[in-house]
Symmetry: C2
């Protein structure tokens, strides 16, 4: 079964619909999803010299994006409320997601974080908000927060960012299909490329 790597950052707006759509599409195509959280801040800074979201830096693009995201969420019947703070701190959420990967709840946890940020305008930088989501997906906030703070998880998140960069990632959501026959794989960027990425992973090019 081919694996589709799903690279996402919790502050990424279009990763919200992607996170809610990917399992359905992948399952239908017989493709396995590897949830790969990353931080975009370091990549934006290194590749584009940015210290803020491109949607804040270029106002006209931001204005468009919020309207477009509203339309996309409507079409997918996903709740949408424009976050009163953007982008939000995502370091703890990303580390918790990596803990969730080891405990089997990374997918529902990640969907929950996106829904909180973009559907309910809740502060996903707030540990209390994240603890509630951890509980909802069957985790144990005390133990999981402890592990999220470990050197191993911190190193894993840094390694994820480096791996994403090496694979050509510059934004989220990104989808990557490793190619057994060559060192390079196939990269797709954007929620609107999810269908093509899944089809590619399924071998239906």
């Amino acid at each position: 079964m081919t694996t589709l790597e799903f690279w996402y950052e919790f502050a990424s707006t279009y990763s919200y619909p992607a996170a809610w759509r990917i399992e359905r599409l992948a399952t239908a195509a017989g493709v396995k999803v590897a949830w790969r959280p990353l931080l975009l801040g370091p990549l934006f800074h290194k590749q584009q010299g940015l210290n803020d979201s491109p949607f804040n830096v270029v106002e006209v693009k931001g204005r468009y994006m919020w309207r477009d995201l509203e339309r996309v969420c409507q079409a997918e019947m996903l709740p949408f409320r424009r976050p009163s703070q953007f982008p939000r701190r995502t370091l703890l959420a990303a580390r918790l997601a990596l803990v969730g990967a080891k405990r089997g709840w990374i997918a529902p946890f990640s969907r929950g974080v996106y829904a909180a940020n973009f559907g309910q305008d809740r502060d996903i930088g707030d540990p209390a908000v994240l603890a509630k989501i951890v509980k909802e997906v069957g985790g144990d906030p005390v133990a999981d927060f402890h592990d999220a703070d470990s050197d191993a998880i911190k190193a894993e998140l840094r390694a994820n960012v480096a791996e994403a960069e090496a694979k050509g990632v510059f934004g989220a959501p990104s989808f990557y299909i490793p190619n057994a026959a060559s060192p390079g794989g196939e990269l797709f960027w954007g929620n609107d490329r999810l269908e093509q990425a899944v089809a590619w992973a399924a071998g239906a090019r």
Copy 2:
């Protein structure tokens, strides 16, 4: 019959598949297309401080875009050859397109310019290349080049850029549906939003 405004720049890579797809999709939906050429250079500079294509400024995005465009063209069965020069000068082509709007050949001329630039790697800044396309679509290069150089056409192109900016355009292809009920219309950006834009124009939201 609703009109869908198609805002495009001849150097814009994703406008190539959009230009070749739009009439088929619009006709099927009972939507009329208004071909609105513009120059993106002034907008990129004003809105983002750029003096070059964003795909040249951010190398990793450019590398991804060329591969993605190749895939998009393959899926649409459009010839693709990466231009040896990017972006090319598009001022004369844009002015000729405006002449073509008055003479009924703006659509085939625009498709021809895109095919030359992105399908055949021909220099669309070269008047000889453009004269050949004008002839192919039934124009008269001598008279049409003369008109393209008129103050009226120059002013019209500048007005197009200003109108696009006022409508929130920041890239191409963009699709705009005027809203009779309010001053603001609906803007869609990107070849991958063409289907939604056409559906919106047809009233099937």
